[in-house]
Subunit: 164 residues, 2 copies
């Protein structure tokens, strides 16, 4: 039985690439539904890229009507410029989720790695491999940020009390 109440969406924010992952939780099992990346071109004016991210996140919210949505929470970034850019993408993603009447959950990369790999220091490769195993996929989802977004959704499926 597929219930719309158990759809979980995960987002890995970025200006050029925002990963998204959609899973379903049925009892104790989790199932892959969709994953991919919202890409915005460097040739576009900056605020148009933010608009594109907002619109695409909104479309995913409307399409999948998730009951739980989680977004990666960052404390670190390569530098201040990266942090400002990721921050702006993250701001419009949180807004698009909130406009759909869902309170976004936030997990740090450490929480995601601990939840998915039982190791806060896990590599991207290890996270991808565990996502593949947990969702019974034939290959690690591509691109990287889609795999990361699925890992965030999986983390939400473990953490959230609504699903306990």
């Amino acid at each position: 039985m597929i219930s719309k109440n158990t759809i979980i969406l995960g987002f890995d924010p970025g200006i050029a690439d925002t990963g998204f992952g959609v899973i379903e939780k049925i009892g104790n099992k989790i199932k892959f539904i969709d994953a991919g990346s919202i890409k915005t071109g460097k040739d576009k004016i900056f605020f148009k890229r933010l608009e594109e991210i907002y619109t695409q996140v909104d479309k995913l919210m409307v399409k999948y009507r998730p009951s739980i949505v989680a977004v990666e929470k960052l404390y670190f970034a390569k530098n201040v410029k990266t942090a400002l850019d990721v921050g702006q993408a993250r701001g419009v993603i949180l807004l698009a989720i909130a406009k759909n009447k869902i309170e976004p959950l936030e997990f740090t990369p450490l929480q995601v790695k601990q939840a998915v790999c039982a190791n806060g220091q896990a590599s991207k490769y290890q996270v991808g491999t565990m996502v593949k195993a947990l969702l019974n996929l034939r290959a690690v989802p591509q691109p990287d940020d889609a795999a990361d977004a699925l890992a965030i959704a999986i983390t939400a499926s473990f953490f959230n009390k609504k699903l306990a």
Copy 2:
């Protein structure tokens, strides 16, 4: 004669305090209309603060129907945490402006200081004093971020070709 075509809005983004300034350009003169600060409480969940900023910016856009809107563009921040927070506020501000069919202009603090004080190294005090002088105010606008937002609006009034 007051024309709605000459209203300029400036924003100085922040999660706790987003400064705004509204001026009008009539010929070669600029006139103070409004200024203040959008404040969001630390007690609120983070995404609620973003929603509040978005809503208040949208209200200002609807109230003043500006033809030009400028937002401070940052390259520097005290640290990555600050950059992420300011970035998120900035993202929803740009989105609120774009949703009102205006292409936001962006000026760096250096550009603002050069435009308003003819000195890229000007202090906050110097910027405030020049804003007071240029707008014929009795005192420097308070709080600081309101004065900064007015300085951003004044910069837009100097730079923008639509007003040349």
